[in-house]
């Protein structure tokens, strides 16, 4: 019996109604006073995460790495970066999390390794090297011309010349991240071994980074190829065979009809991020128009029963604008990235609070919409207290600064000298750690943190949000985003006002004639629903979540 399951009831679909929390280990809490966050530090903060109501922690890559891409350039798949601790620290962390009924998944980069990885160093040393074929080599750099460059700000091409190897090698990301060659069965088998290593330590699953790019083929854009899906299905089969109740979460930033391919027929990845809807939530907010959200959800195919979306507002990367039209991208830059420093690649590198001008109403509304949608929410560390960002830091570091625990030195993140910290904490008057920190917000009943805690609790009390159907409504007012969620006996009506002005809207709820809307936070009953359109009025950025209940139960 796998020990990972000791503290949980068997539930292969646990991820469908879970709240996830993304942690940048380096930035969370420093357990050994060396200026960098580590696994012991994260372990120390499990009480806080348990209070917040988190069901699953997602760790950003914690493997040995030269850190030229935040750890997504892995140099050893079977160890922990010494800055973060040891494999034993990892095992102890997972065990401690499990005892609090918190699960743990970690990033796993399947597509590429760091060029520092011994495999690549071996591969490039000679054309006869046994590892040569583990990577993708060519004498010319004109292969796969239809594959787009992803890091447009830094990479001129997907091919880079290696003088030692005497050939070009293929990389969809930075030139120091050569792609692994999945045509080679040795690579396929090795990656499965990697997965098993961490699963045996008790991990509950993986976020599979950059999966669309595993295979490449001439004459294609080298994304989402059929053999990529085949391999992922093989991974799923192996995991299912020996490790019950685990989750594979695909990072596939694609249009909806392409993302759903990663679920297969319920035999591939369990989860995938709902990338398409995320920028449209921000668009809808600025435009005060629910249409972009309705449209993308309409275009989103339904999932197999045993699969789930991962919903998010922000994460460790830039707010990606790859999957929007050019006009929409221009609009988003104009509205959300007025300072050109904020633009990176095809996105905007800002945290949630600064994106919303630190508007409390806006932050609440966006969370309400996020939590009302079908999927499992994924929160980004620090966004629960409204942390800010630092656009003057390079790459995406601006959104990866140390977590603010208290108003003390270094924001309570570390007892090391300020100069030792891996990145400076925010110190400005609006977002600095003296103003924005966990301790102060815990003590302030009206804080964002306390609000979000109640919100998470409410969502968890009602499995309908994770497990229910989604039925859009058509309010008379385009500024209102309204839909119905249904599961077993529960019917929930979620209505949100995107405008910064008061609004009124009528909803056709004739189907629910006779039921009474009961507001879910205060349990206040609203007038019963009739055959005629139901009128609701909203304050600026207001929203209601109603349970539709029988009149009789008073």
């Amino acid at each position: 019996m796998s020990e990972a399951g000791h503290w949980f009831e068997s539930d292969p679909l646990w991820f469908k109604h879970a709240v996830f929390y993304e942690i940048h280990v380096r930035g969370f809490f420093d357990g050994n006073a060396d200026g960098m966050g580590d696994l012991r530090g994260v372990t120390d903060k499990l009480d806080y995460l348990e209070w917040l109501g988190i069901d699953c922690i997602w760790l950003l890559p914690m493997y040995p790495s030269p850190l030229r891409d935040g750890g997504y350039d892995i140099a050893d798949f079977y160890d922990i970066h010494p800055d973060y601790g040891t494999v034993e620290d990892f095992r102890a962390f997972v065990d401690a999390a499990h005892q609090r009924q918190i699960r743990v998944i970690a990033d796993l980069v399947m597509n590429h390794t760091s060029s520092d990885h011994p495999w690549f160093q071996e591969a490039r040393s000679s054309p006869e090297s046994p590892k040569r074929d583990w990577y993708v080599w060519s004498d010319t750099d004109d292969g796969y011309p239809d594959a787009r460059v992803i890091f447009v700000d830094t990479e001129p091409s997907n091919w880079t010349w290696d003088p030692l190897a005497g050939q070009y090698y293929w990389h969809r990301f930075f030139s120091h991240q050569p792609d692994l060659n999945y045509e080679n069965p040795e690579v396929q088998d090795e990656m499965l071994r990697v997965l098993r290593f961490w699963l045996d330590l008790g991990i509950d699953g993986f976020r599979l980074d950059a999966v669309p790019y595993l295979y490449e083929d001439e004459g294609t854009n080298c994304e989402n190829l059929p053999r990529t899906h085949e391999y992922l299905k093989r991974v799923r089969e192996e995991v299912d065979a020996s490790y019950p109740d685990r989750v594979l979460l695909a990072e596939a930033n694609q249009w909806p009809e392409d993302v759903v391919e990663y679920f297969g027929e319920g035999d591939e990845c369990h989860m995938a991020f709902q990338f398409p809807i995320m920028p449209r939530m921000f668009m809808s907010l600025r435009r005060e128009d629910a249409t972009p959200m309705y449209e993308i959800l309409e275009r989103t195919p339904s999932l197999p029963d045993n699969c789930q979306w991962g919903l998010f507002l922000r994460n460790h990367d830039e707010l990606t604008l790859e999957m929007v039209t050019d006009d929409e991208r221009d609009y988003m830059y104009a509205e959300y990235a007025k300072d050109p420093r904020m633009k990176l690649n095809l996105g905007i590198r800002r945290r949630l609070a600064p994106l919303l001008d630190n508007g409390r109403d806006e932050i609440e509304l966006m969370h309400a919409i996020l939590f009302s949608l079908p999927g499992s929410p994924v929160l980004y560390y620090g966004d629960e207290i409204g942390m800010g960002d630092n656009v003057f830091l390079g790459d995406r570091d601006g959104v990866r600064t140390p977590m603010h625990w208290t108003g003390d030195r270094n924001g309570g993140f570390s007892t090391a000298d300020f100069a030792q910290l891996y990145l400076p904490p925010l110190m400005d008057p609006v977002y600095g750690y003296a103003a924005v920190n966990v301790e102060a917000q815990l003590r302030t009943p009206t804080s964002l943190l306390r609000w979000l805690h109640r919100f998470v609790e409410l969502r968890k009390q009602h499995p309908v949000f994770g497990l229910g159907t989604y039925e859009p409504l058509e309010p008379s007012n385009p500024r209102i985003f309204a839909h119905v969620r249904r599961w077993e006996e529960e019917i929930v009506l979620c209505v949100h006002n995107l405008a910064r002005t008061a609004q009124a809207a009528e909803l056709d709820l004739a189907e629910f004639d006779g039921l009474v809307p009961e507001e879910m936070f205060g349990q206040t009953r609203f007038p019963p629903i009739g055959e005629l359109p139901y009128l609701l009025t909203f304050g600026a950025r207001g929203f209601y979540w109603f349970r539709l209940v029988e009149e009789a139960a008073a």
């Binding site: 399951g5 503290w7 005892q99 301790e439 815990l442 009943p445 009390q461 309908v464 077993e488």
Partner: protein, 456 residues
């Protein structure tokens, strides 16, 4: 021939529901139940008669959440029982003396019974002899306890929760260290595998009792109140010693004392603050509540005062539900502490948390208030003047004399932390009494008032 597992899982829902919802140990609310069914069964006897299995009964609620219950079931051919399936009648296995002895026998034999998807595992501390007579132990609420030959108690946990029951952990820890003031652990029964790992039951010594602390306190008050004071100092000492032992193993991660994090105190304050908000938002309009009606914000303000930064001491494994009803005065003229399951109605992971030991102290201090009020409420006897104050200070003196000083903060933090946890307890009591014993509401109300109006 259908297996015992198949038979149990096929028990008709109507009859099973009626049976379960009527049991004393059934702990959830009846009005939101959507379904009751046996979702799994762990076989104990698969041949002969009666067939026996541990039924895993799922009670599912309207919202879609559920609870799991531990229901050992015997099946006999014919009619009767609380339900029937396929010509077999189902009955509660713990009502059958021979089945109880068989269960204890499995513990003594350290048996392992495998089934598809998992196994039942029985363990023993030194050795046990399963002998009758067997009698039910009265007044059980969330569990079912059975006394064997006035020497052993089999305590069956009714709620099934994934992991290890804190009582098994704590009793094993204390028994291994020869802590005298407990009913020592003698054995256990657990399930490992699908659908969950869980502690099913423990076996412990039966302790011959003179009185529990509650009865002693009330008798004392009735008699004019001076005998109990002497016993209470000893209770404080036993409590201090218990905490010291529980905190004594830095090498065991489940028991090693911990330094609280920077936000630990703020987390406690946040939890209590939310509790105040919830309780005061839905406070009914009753005369007994009049003294505190509308004073929710005052209370939250007071909470901020007593929850100010300062030391929290260390966090350790502790009793979690400490009050006069949990301590027995034995025939050997000393105290024994019972019931290490932790705070009722809290999920298992919370009950296993390390917390400040002062929570246990606060629990006992509140209990003294309860005794003083009960004396008036139930027996019309007013406590002698200063009784409560005296009992409090004697208990604390005994406690501080024996507890490892590294575990608790010094004054003024000590006083403030005690007030904090007493407030937490009084709110819990208010919530409980409002739902169960409206007449008793005045007791936590008095406690809350005192905390409100006391000078800082």
């Amino acid at each position: 021939m259908t297996s015992v597992r198949e038979l149990v899982v096929a028990l008709p829902e109507e009859e099973l529901r009626e049976f379960v919802l009527a049991q004393r140990w059934y702990g959830s609310k009846s009005d939101e139940v959507a379904s009751v069914r046996a979702v799994d069964a762990f076989p104990l006897r698969e041949e002969g008669e009666p067939l026996v299995a541990v039924a895993v009964v799922e009670v599912r609620f309207q919202s879609g959440t559920h609870d799991l219950y531990n229901v050992p079931v015997g099946l006999r051919r014919g009619a009767g029982g609380f339900a029937s399936v396929d010509g077999w009648a189902a009955f509660d296995a713990l009502e059958d003396e021979q089945l109880v002895l068989d269960l204890v026998g499995l513990i003594g034999a350290q048996a392992t019974l495998e089934h598809e998807g998992g196994s039942l595992q029985f363990g023993v501390v030194d050795g046990v002899v399963a002998a009758g007579p067997v009698r039910a132990m009265g007044a059980e609420q969330s569990n079912t306890s059975v006394v064997l030959d006035e020497t052993l108690v089999l305590k069956l946990y009714r709620k099934l929760e994934a992991g290890v029951n804190p009582e098994l952990e704590l009793l094993r820890f204390l028994t291994e260290r020869d802590f005298p003031a407990i009913a020592s652990l003698q054995g256990w029964a657990v399930h490992v595998g699908q659908p969950l790992d869980a502690t099913l039951a423990i076996l412990q010594d039966f302790v011959p009792v003179r009185d529990d602390g509650w009865a002693l306190a009330l008798k004392d008050l009735e008699a004019g109140g001076d005998g109990f004071v002497g016993l209470v100092r000893r209770l404080g000492e036993v409590t201090g010693a218990m905490h010291s032992v529980l905190a004594s193993d830095a090498a065991d991660p489940a028991f090693a004392p911990e330094e609280p994090s920077g936000e630990a105190l703020a987390l406690i304050v946040a939890r209590i603050d939310e509790e105040i908000e919830q309780v005061f938002n839905s406070l009914p309009d009753e005369p007994a509540l009049e003294p505190i009606a509308g004073r929710g914000d005052d209370l939250r303000g007071r909470l901020q005062e007593i929850g100010q930064s300062g030391s929290l001491g260390r966090l350790i494994r502790h009793h979690g539900d400490y009050h006069l009803g949990q301590v027995l005065w034995t025939e050997n003229e000393d105290w024994v502490v019972l019931d290490f399951e932790g705070e009722p109605a809290r999920p298992l992971r919370e009950r296993r948390h390390k917390r400040s030991p002062l929570r246990d102290v606060a629990g006992m201090l509140r209990s003294f208030s309860y005794a003083a009020s009960a004396s008036e409420l139930e027996y019309g006897v007013e406590p002698p003047p200063g009784w409560e104050g005296q009992v409090r200070s004697e208990f604390l003196a005994g406690y501080l004399a024996k507890v490892d000083p590294a575990l608790v903060p010094a004054d003024p933090s000590l006083e403030r932390r005690l007030r904090l946890f007493e407030l937490e307890k009084a709110l819990y009591e208010l919530h409980y009494e409002l739902g169960h014993r409206p007449d008793w509401v005045r007791v936590p109300v008095a406690g809350i008032l005192q905390l409100l109006d006391e000078p800082a």
